[in-house]
């Protein structure tokens, strides 16, 4: 693999987390015992970050399905982050269907700060 910039790497992680395959696996893992990674404990920082993105997209897609927000929110990363940020700051003010059903709404850490970057 060529050395990716931090931004590129996070972008690939987010695209994977947003995609059908991992969203489906994540959804199923709530109902049945499924392993998302080769290891099932002692997760690395990167895996925790990925799980956090899975949860982030799960929350957005849930809201889209519930009709709380339009699909436009998925057009770019800034829209996605802004919506989730707005939602986290408006808890209780404008109860969405998502919150009424106690669905998760965790904002992931913005990024991992890699110590060594591509030159």
């Amino acid at each position: 693999m060529k050395l990716l910039e931090e931004k590129e790497l996070v972008s690939y992680m987010r695209k994977l987390a947003k995609g059908y395959k991992y969203q489906n696996l994540y959804n199923l893992s709530k109902e049945m015992k499924l392993r998302l990674f080769y290891n099932d404990r002692d997760f690395s920082e990167m895996q925790i970050q990925f799980l956090s993105w899975l949860n982030f997209y799960y929350a957005i897609k849930w809201d889209i399905d519930m009709g709380d927000i339009g699909e436009k929110v998925l057009e770019n990363f800034i829209y996605e982050e802004s919506y989730i940020y707005w939602k986290s700051k408006n808890k209780g003010k404008d109860k969405t269907k998502n919150e009424r059903t106690n669905k998760p709404n965790n904002e992931p850490k913005k990024s991992i700060q890699w110590i060594f970057k591509k030159e």
């Binding site: 690939y12 994977l16 920082e45 895996q47 982050e81 991992i112 110590i115």
Partner: protein, 215 residues
């Protein structure tokens, strides 16, 4: 080749690279390891074990103590005071970063609300562009601050910790495809090709992330 065809080939190439990178990132997340070639040999960087992290932490403590007794190195606080005397205000840079972060959050709230209210594309696009501008500003300020404080004892020991972790968690494919420690001693590691060390450190920081114990 016509321009149209050339553009088409470039686009396919880009898509292929994109797919390959995506597969590699997926593999990295799933397995917590990266295999790469360097100078005709295969190397593997894997997630360090608890024992290896403990070892790296012990070495970090030693490094920290040795830098403390070395007059040519300074703690971050002392470095900030010296910069101030020379007219460089690190605290002001930190404040600027925080202010930019607050400005960005305020814009994100507006954009989030605009998306929720199904506002026009023009409005949401304007907010997006402004947020991107603030992101760039924040990145430049952060780089400036990191560069200024790069010489501090805290920063140097953090770098040392990841450098040491790379040493203990990098393996080389030997005879009969068996993976063995890439370097026998830390000295051998320090004297090896910097390109290889850079790669090992980069991958280690990806895999180990923020798992650095706090001093």
């Amino acid at each position: 080749m016509t321009k149209k065809k050339k553009d088409g080939v470039e686009e396919v190439k880009k898509q292929m690279t994109d797919i390959m990178n995506s597969i590699e990132v997926e593999n990295l997340i799933n397995r917590n390891e990266v295999i790469f070639s360097f100078d005709g040999s295969q190397y593997k960087v894997r997630k360090p074990s608890f024992r290896e992290k403990q070892e790296a932490f012990q070495q970090k403590l030693k490094k920290y103590t040795s830098l403390l007794t070395d007059d040519s190195f300074m703690l971050e606080e002392a470095l900030i005071t010296i910069y101030k005397k020379k007219g460089i205000n690190i605290d002001a840079i930190t404040e600027k970063i925080q202010q930019t972060y607050t400005d960005k959050n305020n814009l994100m709230l507006k954009l989030g609300e605009a998306l929720k209210d199904s506002s026009s594309d023009k409005e949401t696009e304007t907010y997006k562009n402004e947020i991107e501008g603030l992101d760039d500003k924040m990145q430049l300020l952060t780089i400036e601050k990191t560069n200024l404080l790069g010489a501090s004892i805290e920063h140097q020991t953090m770098i040392f910790y990841f450098t040491y972790l790379a040493y203990v968690s990098t393996e080389k494919q030997g005879k009969k495809d068996k993976w063995e420690k890439a370097w026998k001693t830390f000295e051998e590691y320090e004297n090896s090709d910097s390109g290889l060390v850079d790669k090992a450190c980069y991958y280690t920081s990806l895999i180990a992330g923020h798992e650095e114990p706090v001093l």
